[in-house]
Amino acid sequence: MAVARWGDLRRHAGDPWLLVTFAGAAAALGIFVLYPAFRVLVYPTWQDYLAIPRSLRWMQAARNSLVMMVISTVTATFIGLAFAFATTRADMPGRRLFRTIAMLPLFAPPFMVAFAYILMFGRQGLVTKSLLGLSANIFGWHGLWLVQTIAFFPLAMLIIAGVLDAVNPSLEHAARNLGADEWTVVKTISLALARPGIAGAMLVVAISVLADFGNAVIIAGGFPLLATEAWFRMEGMGDLKGAALVVAMLLVPTAGLFLLERFWVSRRVYTVVTGRGSRIARPPTPAFLRWAAVAICTLASLLIFLVYFGVIAGAFTTVWGRDWSLTLDHWRLAADRISSLWVSVKIGALAGLITGTVGVLVAFLTSRSLPLRHVLDFLAVLPGALPGVFVGVGYVLAFNPTFIGGTMWTLAAALAFWHLPMGYQAASARFKQIERAIEEAAVNLGATGLRVLRDVYLPLLLPALVEAFAVSFIRAVTNVSIVVFLITPGQVVATFVILNMIQNNIWGAAGALTTMLLLLTFVAIGLTWLSVGRIVRSPGVG
């Protein structure tokens, strides 16, 4: 029944606009998703690929990336689990506060944690130098480890909390009733049921760590990584082939993990979300677990607080590490570069519009029984498997020689289509919530395919559209991984300016501009919340 056949075309023959729209959407995805990826993969010759194992630098970068992936994933998932556990047990002190704090890194630009920790734990660090009198070097793998752990554990928390929350309290009570003590209940029921969720969280975090460009470029120092190597190749040496080769190498593990998550783990989730809130209280949590979780959460919350505190404090401090007096000088310097913020807003709005409309349109088309709709679905989720730097290099290779090359349209399109899976999946989820019979009722009364979209789906999907716009906008204005490849001299965006400031140790102005970017983000989140009643989250990846 779900299998679309060519024969179904006949049923849509009376609806040519639907077919035209379908062809248009397929062409857009082909050009803006598939073609750049294809260009990256075929740019190096097969001899270039075969030479990879002989390049010491690349093998080292690959090894480093994998090591970071393993250690950062383990720690981020562990802290995410502690938070998830703490926020889903009713008898946990401070659970709401912890949940709110843990969400904060999700709204931060993807380089912000690294930047803040340089200010806190670096050579001039407030904590390391001024408070403890240490001479610490945060640059390198250990700094990156800390940064990625804090930046990405909220992703793990969200996924694991979703699963833990869905564990029916009746099951826990049933176990108690059969004679299990508190610890046994947690071990054999709650955590056992959450195991697929934990595995899924690890995969999502691992992908994010591998693709993390923003933090790595700031704090990894001389530690070579695949995600940053591509940019160094292109910026430093103009080596386009090397850049393509490195991002192709990076694609293998990220795409592999992505497929694993999508087709294996996500189908092994035991818990079923019924929507029927069976809200009986859970049995008590063992005391030692309660306090262990609270201790971990308190420490992590402190580290998160330092992220926001560091950046904002940096914006008001005369000379970080030496002169702690307050000043507004940095804001004057930042104000000189405020035009970059408007460019960010312009490109972000453009990207948001494209992500929203294409996302809703593709979600609508894949819900039709049209042939090739699975191909469309695949193309719409594919960007989720691509690291930002891969997309950046892909768009350079694909569109720089064309008429949109070097314009802000290339950057906007790259950001829009990279974020398409979020808009598409949000819209798809809404589509599934809308009863099929509602659409049939419209058709039954005489509505054609596109008329159904206009009269029934668009009004019902408007919240999804707004949400997709907001997520895409926020991620676009805070992006660095794609921006660094597609930036053009006339259209410099705020994140690029900030990145340059940080690398040139102009910390105060960088802090001020980052604070403005944060304000912009929170205004966007607030407006979205006011209009659709939902808090959008934008995991700071890339």
Partner: protein, 354 residues
Amino acid sequence: MEPRVKEPHVRFERITKRFGHTVAVDGVSLHVEEGSFTTLLGPSGCGKTTLLRTLAGFYRPDAGDVFLRGVRITDVPAHRRNTAMVFQEYALFPHMTVAENVGYGLRLRRVPAAEAVRRRGQVMELVGLVGQERKFPHQLSGGQQQRVALARALVVEPEVLLLDEPLSNLDAKLRIRVRSEIRALQQQLGKTTVYVTHDQEEALAISDRIAVMDRGRIQQLGTPLAIYHHPANRFVADFVGLANFVEGELSGPGLVRAGGVTLAVPDGARDAGPVTVVLRPEAIRLHTEAPPGAPNVLRGRITAMSFLGTLARYWVDAAGRQWTVDVPSPGEAVMHGEVFLEIPRERIHLLAAE
């Protein structure tokens, strides 16, 4: 003048519809007369909804054709058929008011505003929704939502009105009220109606004709009376109402030997051989003393009783088997112990053994 075979309003011609390897509808032919109320009745998975949706154009049959007034409409897409449907979950547009919901079909047909308002008002009055125009579906009760769905379908003046289990989301009392309202409305408008339900009582109460379906086929087509009293096979007898089944052997004219007893049955054109006796529980009479002179009297013992208000249901062991017997209007009388079953000959229905 040459007698002309009157073309039925809707004609299903050997419809087959498969989903994967399951055959949902298996070569069904059915005529629906103009102005009639026809019900497709059967258990879930019998193909009744599939058949209805084939008429609405949501499914294209794998074989066979659908005709509307003799015109083949098999390939006409759903939105170009004038077969308005009332959905099981109502499927009201949640973002439109009651008036917008009801007026939607008119908007699609580009009916001029003044006329649309007039027609909408008429239908709203017909179903008793006046005053609710500006509410949204979620502000209405289940019964009111049901009326909106009905109004939305009626306002476009469909060729055929389709109803897919429209009462299943209402509570028991309301269900009975709305079903008689639907029937009264249908008769008032003379609208050809195809109705799908799994509730046999509903089907008996509301229909001109019932098509009882099972495993993708029509098992029997007939009036409610015929379906109930003269079921064509064991499935129909079992699905519609309660029945006692007794396997036996037609041994002579009007005589069935079943186990140790011989029952006098109506004379029929049936050949001698194995038969199944079908007996409705309310057809059997219960006596505390043997009724003199009556044929078909069995001595038995009551094993259980269930009081249902309008009737008392007894389970009686007699002639080596259990019988279900309904005593109508029992009042406060309760029987127990030894009883006599009297089986009126004319109430016995015979089936060929399957």
